[in-house]
């Protein structure tokens, strides 16, 4: 039982947490307000943005499913050599930002590119094709996004375990129907949440889409805002995008609810790995695992390394170390603040069970899906309203605020999933021992959440390292503040891909190290369970 004092303390805290949540939400509130405040009309040309965005989403998702689910299935259920390495290598492409992937491949495969010239030399015949198209972009983006589907599918497959599979086998179900009638339905919610992250990334995609001449929402928002000087249309497009995102979040939650029902039944035995007897099938299995690794990781890494070696004498390494320092310090500070705020809000939600706070947290999860560019611009517009707050423009504080808005969802997903699994009996026990909330948090929930906190920190860190439009718009205007991502993007955009490679390679290497650390933590977490 909570005493009176406890309740009032908690309600103050929950009000504080709600206010904090609302402050973080200001950019969304502003877009919605502006949308209704100004006279907006739906233009025929908006339809193109729908068409292209959905085309890109569907095709990229399709490729991500192929590159993600099949290898996850093979790694989980079949006996494969070097499983640990494959498992890791299939996640690492996440370290390569989508725009870098797209620029690298269009440079390699495009007209007058390395492959083009190679084929000409080898076969004495021109075999080239136009890679600047929506279908190719889908493929290139999927090379860096499939790990989202792979990792969620992989976790889900290993949770299914052998119980269901043995059961279906004893019922005489063949392999194909086993996959489509048992495994896929059971993992559907996990695959959907992986795809959800893929779609969020695509909606955020700006740099590559613009270069490929494809009309995604982000490209449209920029075009109306800057090129057409039509802020209203741009706000309207942002608003439509926001609604799409909310619908996706709703669908994702809907699938998650089903998942809870399923998990209840799973008391799985550990998986018995099947040996592949047929050498041809064995070879085929390795090819299926190998393709996404080669194209998602080795080819871009080799291409970047090659560019770096070729231009080695031209690089300014003092600048590189300066950029690394900037990127690391801003990413670490912001990740720390994001995780701290997330933990505060989620713990207060757990203790107070406030409905308002629950609602705010749901909306906060939408932040991840809103293109960085919109956040940056809506923040700028808000600052323009008042000269007092405009002092904040170009400060570290504002940049971190924007990061909090954009990436708090990532921390919420990770930490909240873990908190939900902590039995409420522990809390009740602490209450019966008359521990106050702070002690309850420090003694019980914090130690139990530690792993998820570290994972959240690392994922947010990786995201901020790669982040582009927000940093570009809101970065400090004094001192020599530039980040690796800004430098890499500027160079690539300026048609100097070779020079940009040093910076993108550095981002990728730092992120690879972080992903390996996350994986080690995840493995440790499994042992703890």
């Amino acid at each position: 039982m909570k005493n009176l004092n406890g309740i009032s303390n908690l309600s103050i805290l929950s009000i504080l947490a709600s206010i904090l949540g609302i402050i973080i939400l200001i950019p969304i509130i502003f877009i919605i307000y502006e949308n209704f405040a100004s006279n907006l009309e739906f233009k025929q040309s908006f339809l193109n943005y729908f068409y292209d965005t959905f085309h890109l989403i569907l095709l990229t998702s399709f490729f991500c499913i192929i590159f993600g689910i099949i290898p996850a299935w093979i790694i989980t259920f079949l006996k494969i050599k070097y499983k640990f390495f494959f498992d890791l290598l299939l996640v690492l492409p996440l370290a390569i930002p989508g725009y870098v992937m797209a620029f690298i491949y269009s440079d390699l495969l495009g007209y007058g590119g390395v492959i083009d010239f190679f084929l000409e030399k080898k076969f004495n015949q021109v075999i080239s094709f136009d890679v600047l198209s929506i279908n190719w972009l889908s493929l290139f983006l999927s090379f860096s996004l499939f790990p989202y589907v792979y990792s969620t599918a992989r976790v889900s497959f290993s949770l299914i375990g052998n119980t269901y599979i043995n059961l279906s086998e004893s019922l005489g179900v063949n392999t194909m129907s086993k996959i489509f009638k048992v495994i896929i339905p059971l993992s559907l919610s996990a695959i959907v949440s992986g795809l959800f992250l893929v779609i969020m990334e695509i909606l955020n995609e700006y740099g590559a889409a613009e270069y490929f001449g494809i009309k995604t929402f982000s490209v449209g928002i920029f075009k109306y805002w800057w090129a057409l000087n039509d802020k209203n249309s741009s706000i309207f497009l942002s608003f439509i995008l926001l609604i799409i995102v909310l619908v996706l979040i709703f669908l994702n939650n809907f699938f998650k609810k089903n998942e809870n029902k399923i998990q209840y039944h799973i008391k799985s035995s550990s998986i018995i790995l099947k040996k592949i007897k047929n050498p041809f099938s064995k070879f085929f299995a390795y090819v299926v695992i190998g393709v996404p690794i080669v194209f998602g990781l080795f080819v871009p890494l080799l291409s970047m390394t090659n560019n770096v070696i070729k231009n080695f004498s031209k690089f300014d390494f003092t600048e590189l170390s300066n950029l690394i320092q900037n990127s690391l310090s801003i990413s670490i500070t912001a990740s720390f603040i994001i995780v701290a705020i997330t933990l505060f809000i989620l713990i207060i939600k757990r203790y107070s069970n406030s409905n308002l706070l629950k609602f705010i947290i749901k909306i906060l999860s939408a932040g991840y899906a809103i293109p960085g560019a919109i956040i940056g611009l809506s923040i700028m517009l808000i600052l323009q309203q008042n000269s007092f707050i405009s002092v904040l423009m170009g400060t570290t504080f504002l940049l971190i605020y924007a990061y909090v808005f954009r990436f708090i969802a990532v921390a919420i997903f990770t930490i909240d999933n873990n908190l939900k699994k902590q039995p409420y009996e522990f809390d009740k026990l602490a209450d019966s021992l008359k521990l106050n909330n702070l002690k309850k948090f420090i003694k019980i929930n914090l130690p139990l959440s530690l792993n998820s906190i570290i994972i959240a920190f690392l994922i947010v860190f990786i995201d901020i390292m790669k982040e582009l439009p927000l940093t570009l718009i809101l970065r400090k205007s004094t001192g020599k503040f530039n980040t690796l991502a800004i430098e890499a993007y500027n160079k690539a955009k300026n048609e100097e891909l070779a020079n940009s490679s040093l910076y993108s390679l550095t981002i990728v290497l730092i992120c690879i190290i972080m992903i390996i650390v996350v994986n080690i933590f995840l493995k440790r977490k499994k042992h703890v369970h």
């Binding site: 805002w225 603040i337 611009l377 170009g394 205007s477």
Partner: protein
């Protein structure tokens, strides 16, 4: 406790904020907001920093973003100068009342008169022409004449160009509106898009690469990209660059000359270091900087005492369109509307 911690962190950050702004008020520095992000510019800023012992801060973003940023920062804007690669954007900054008049006639004396701002708000640094790159094996140079002629049916499925949201294309169309009016410009854009070899995409270099692979025969590109390809360290790029030739349109006796645009600089009204801003402008238009620009970026120097680089000189002299460059800004909104209505995506 956690709450206090967050509060404390916010306070520390706010503290940093104030410090950051104060730092900027110090005298011996200059803050440059620039669209240009080439290594050449970096080198020149470093040289300026060393020679004058002035600390240089650079914020690089697109011109529209920078203008928006200057407006947002208001009185706290630390920027001293704005550098863009399009006279239209400088006009936009003037229109938003962000720039002040620059009164240094000694600089203008050395600068090509056709490129000077008649209102005195900005100074050009370099200029470039939007030219026609063509495949000499497929195109008889006699068939090439004017921008207007590109809408002719003989060019069906042969023209390559990037999208209409690109500011170089918008500037070109602004000049056509200034000369012929909106209706003719719309007809031109529509007819021209019927002649496209593929839907607009990629950057200027990609158009030249597509000529190299026979996707189309001619491309509308900025002159210096051909120079950059020809002088590249990459053997493949050199081959691509060598495969095309440059044609300057509208050179006939009664024709107006090829469309040009400038890279230019303006001083912000609220610039905290105006003296340094003037020093920078003198430096960027000096013979040293102008030589450096033309020999590395293959743009044309605006300083009359400096000759274009050998690669640029090879393309020969040409007649430039003498249109007041502010027209590229004045007609921008209409140009964008025309593009929106046209089939040029």
């Amino acid at each position: 406790m956690k709450k206090n911690l967050i509060l404390l962190l916010c306070l520390i950050l706010l503290g940093c904020t104030n410090k950051e702004n104060k730092e900027n008020k110090e005298n011996n520095q200059i803050t440059i907001y620039t669209k240009r992000h080439y290594d050449i510019d970096k080198h020149l800023f470093e040289k300026f920093e060393k020679d004058n012992n002035i600390n240089v801060n650079v914020v690089q973003a697109s011109s529209d973003e920078l203008i928006e940023r200057i407006k947002t920062e208001g009185d706290n804007c630390p920027a001293d100068v704005l550098i863009t690669v399009d006279a239209g954007k400088l006009y936009k900054a003037v229109d938003e009342k962000l720039l002040e008049k620059i009164n240094i006639s000694d600089i203008n004396n050395n600068i090509n008169k056709n490129l000077i701002d008649k209102n005195g708000y900005w100074i050009p640094i370099t200029y470039r022409s939007r030219v026609i790159a063509y495949n000499p094996e497929k195109v008889d140079v006699k068939d090439l004449s004017t921008y207007e002629d590109l809408k002719d049916k003989k060019w069906k499925n042969r023209i390559l160009v990037r999208t209409s949201s690109n500011s170089y294309n918008q500037a070109l169309l602004s000049s056509l509106i200034a000369h012929h009016g909106k209706d003719i410009a719309l007809d031109w854009a529509n007819q021209l898009s019927k002649n496209f070899a593929r839907s607009p995409k990629g950057n200027d270099r990609d158009q030249i690469r597509a000529i190299f692979r026979n996707v189309g025969d001619i491309a509308i590109v900025n002159s210096y990209y051909v120079g950059l390809l020809k002088s590249s360290d990459d053997e493949n790029d050199q081959k691509v660059g060598d495969a095309v030739k440059i044609f300057f349109p509208n050179q006939g006796k009664n024709e107006r000359g090829a469309h040009v645009n400038i890279s230019g600089v303006g001083i912000l009204k609220k610039s905290p270091n105006k003296e340094n801003a003037l020093k920078l402008i003198r430096f960027l238009t000096s013979e040293y900087a102008q030589n450096y620009y033309t020999n590395n970026s293959f743009e044309y120097p605006v300083n009359l005492n400096v000759k274009p680089s050998s690669i640029v000189a090879e393309w020969g002299e040409f007649k430039i369109d003498k249109l007041d460059l502010n027209e590229l800004g004045i007609n921008r909104k209409q140009a964008i509307e025309v593009f929106e209505k046209s089939k040029w995506n």
